[in-house]
């Protein structure tokens, strides 16, 4: 199930709200049980056959959480190693088995290619489960004795299928004790509606442009259309992902949880290094804390530091998908980050801000071209066209998409800027009653209006006419 669906908005969510809030707040475990039940139902929506997978993940991490607890005397290291192996085995089988078998076959080693269906959200809940065990092992969190609380942490539906990757320490306390209130619920709902709007009103239209551009054979792609496609994809992935994070954070808040921010206006970045501090923050920090730092991080000889960066970024790329272009994408950033750290970072710092932002945007867009392309060859072809290596392309196509989506593109540019912060800051400095009223009602009215329009777009996306009557 996705948040931007009618089933979620008007069946699942109302039912959950009724079942959850009908219980008095003093029945914390009862409310947690309701939340867990609905979270598992949310997951089972994609197919009940996938439910055992997340239940196995929960069981693994619950048991290993107990085994690696600092309270235990021996075997902790073995237990944590086994926990990591089990989690990665689960993820590895479902996500990478087909790819690995394909690669082996390409290398001449004949192995059967298993037909494995990828369970939704496995990358997210596996990392979340692993982080719980690792945090307990390190002593950053206490082992949770209640399997239901561990289950709730791992399966909590707001961040289950697309993050943010929530650390156990962030929500451990709130799983036990939290306070739902009208203010928290409303502010959560505002955040949710704004996230829904990002998805429906910006990400989806941008996807139409991006899909058209990336579907074209390279010989039919003009430089204009290539850039429009890549820029649209940059907007699509940002609003899709950050919109989803907004919805997750908003939903969490409605039930008294406070997840950390996952995006911080990444397209304002002045370097690739800064970009990755603002983009998918929860993933970046996960790899930093559980891979980069344990490998040695920024310490040691140069070759180790380079190795650490490239390993993290190869894994980051591969985490996104079991295809070569994701690996190239990850390594692309690994090389850029290495370059900024050891080669041209100093020069970059001396450039004017607009140039630095342009530098970052161009490199990020090239990265998205690598990320979005279906194949490595397609990715390289797209990059070639971006920088003038195309052979002309279809006349008029870029102009059509610019005209058709001019309003969405304009609002996408605006929404990628910290307009909310600027508006809040401006209104805070004003003294009149109008400014106060706008400050108070503006976000709520905007959220309701955009949310309503998002529902209109959601329903309209199912418009399916036929010239001749279809039975």
């Amino acid at each position: 199930m996705v948040f931007s669906s009618l089933n979620f908005l008007f069946l699942f969510l109302p039912a959950l709200l009724v079942c959850y809030f009908i219980l008095p707040s003093r029945y914390r475990e009862g409310r947690n049980l309701v939340l867990l039940g609905f979270s598992l139902a949310f997951y089972a929506y994609a197919g009940v056959r996938f439910l055992p997978i997340i239940l196995v993940s929960i069981l693994i991490n619950y048991l290993f959480g107990l085994l690696v607890s600092p309270e235990r005397r021996g075997g902790r290291k073995a237990a944590v190693t086994l926990a990591v192996v089990c989690n990665l085995a689960l993820l590895g089988w479902f996500k990478y088995a087909m790819f690995t078998a394909g690669v082996l076959n390409d290398l001449g080693i004949a192995v059967p290619i298993p037909q494995v269906v990828l369970p939704i959200g496995i990358s997210f809940f596996t990392f979340q489960g692993m982080s719980y065990v690792l945090d307990v092992y390190r002593g950053d969190a206490a082992a949770e004795r209640s399997p239901l609380r561990v289950a709730l942490y791992i399966a909590l539906f707001p961040q289950l299928v697309a993050g943010p990757i929530v650390r156990y320490t962030t929500v451990a306390g709130e799983i036990r004790v939290r306070r739902e209130s009208v203010d928290e619920f409303s502010e959560g709902a505002v955040r949710f509606l704004l996230g829904l709007s990002k998805k429906m009103l910006l990400a989806n239209p941008m996807s139409q442009i991006a899909d058209a551009a990336f579907a074209l054979p390279v010989e039919q792609l003009s430089a204009g259309m290539a850039w429009l496609g890549v820029i649209s994809y940059a907007f699509q992935i940002y609003f899709d992902f950050s919109g989803y994070s907004d919805m997750a954070i908003g939903l969490g808040r409605m039930f008294g949880f406070h997840f950390l921010e996952n995006f911080d206006y990444p397209y304002l970045s002045r370097s690739v290094t800064e970009f990755w501090r603002r983009w998918h923050i929860s993933l970046g920090s996960w790899f930093r804390d559980y891979v980069y730092i344990p490998l040695g991080g920024n310490r040691g000889p140069m070759w180790k530091r380079l190795r650490n960066i490239l390993v993290v970024w190869a894994l980051t790329g591969f985490w996104h998908g079991a295809e070569w272009n994701f690996l190239f994408w990850g390594l692309y950033y690994g090389l850029l980050l290495t370059g900024e750290k050891f080669l041209w970072g100093g020069l970059l710092d001396r450039l004017p801000s607009p140039l630095r932002r342009l530098y970052t945007l161009v490199l990020v867009c090239v990265g998205w071209a690598l990320f979005r392309s279906e194949t490595a060859a397609g990715a390289l072809g797209m990059v070639r066209v971006l920088f003038g290596g195309g052979s002309g392309g279809l006349a008029g196509q870029a102009l059509y998409y610019l005209l058709e989506f001019r309003w969405e593109l304009l609002f996408a540019v605006i929404a990628a800027l910290p307009v909310k912060r600027w508006a809040e800051g401006f209104l805070a400095r004003q003294e009149g009653a109008a400014a106060k009223a706008l400050s108070l009602w503006g976000p709520r009215v905007l959220a309701l209006g955009l949310g309503a329009w998002s529902v209109v777009r959601l329903v309209s996306s199912t418009f399916n006419p036929f010239i001749y009557f279809r039975f």
């Binding site: 069946l11 709200l17 009940v48 209109v456 010239i467 009557f469």
Partner: protein, 390 residues
Amino acid sequence: MKKIANAVFLLVFLGVLAAVPVGTVLAEKQQVSFWENRKLAVFPQLTEEGVLDGSWFDQVESYFSDHIVGRDRIMKLNTWAELRLLNKPVVNDQVVAGDVMLNFHGYGRWDISYQKDRARQVGERLSGINDLVTGWGGYFCYLGVPQQFSYYADRYPDYMDDRTWTMGPAREAFARELEERGIPFVDMMEVYDRLGHPDGFYSAVDHHFSYAGALTAYEAVLERVNADTGLGLTILREGEGLELTTLPNHYLGSKTRKVYDLWPSEEHLTIGLPSPAIPFTRIDNGAQVEATLYDLPETQEEPVLYTLYMGGDVAETIIRTDRPELPNALIFGESYTNAVETVLWTAFNETRSLDLRHYTAGALEEYLAVYQPDVVICLRDDSSYLSDLG
């Protein structure tokens, strides 16, 4: 104040969350969407497999979206916003940028070298039909009409694909095949061009021709039949045995239907009746029906559709006039035949028409062999020249 603002917001938010599902459950369920011209989803049967693989839930989503309360109003609002507020050049796959609504083709080029082989295959089939018909002394003719977007190809904005790069070669390949095989072919694009390619021959709001365009096609094909056979079929014209009436009713074309009738149009439908009247009987799919040629509206306020002509698409229609001195005819094709049929029958004793999309009782050649009409006309639009005959 913040508490009040949050409370008000909460009331509205929760109110909508509750109202939509309750309203959907309580609202009367429609079986069919008029605007989308399709049957709406039925509630899916719960199956073990559907639950296990998640498909049942997807079907529930489809059902919900098809039956959500206020669906048509919501769709219309969205269409209005795209047309009037956002001023998009393409809305619901219709090019709305000019004075004629056209299909939006998207972009993309493909190898059209397959067209020669396809034209040869279709030509072989038509050759078979021609041999069959001429075998008993009959006459076969292919009447080709441009699709609306072909007719108005020059109305596309410069930056849009008008598909002439594929339609033109397809038409040429097809015409060449028919010529080489000696099959009479009336290419209405050439006829319309000779007459100045006027706007009035094709609809601005529907994918068909107008009644004027249909009458021109009727005249052209009968002139060709007369020239090739000497049958001397009577051709009715306005004021010469044919009375034309323009209906005041609003015309809801297939294209304006896709934009919820929000595109301004003053187009009206015209009907033609022989004067003096010619008595006839009508049989649809084997059953005798009311002897009408038009599905006329009951009031002037009721909109009319292209299905006005002959009552829409019927698998098999037979019109009998009890004039055995006249030849019999068969016309087959798709919906373009409907407008032509309303006047074509006047020249024949019996006129049969087959809609290839709906006639499934047997092969076309079998049907021809049984009834052996004297004149056989295939009427198709140019986007179907290289398609199977069914």
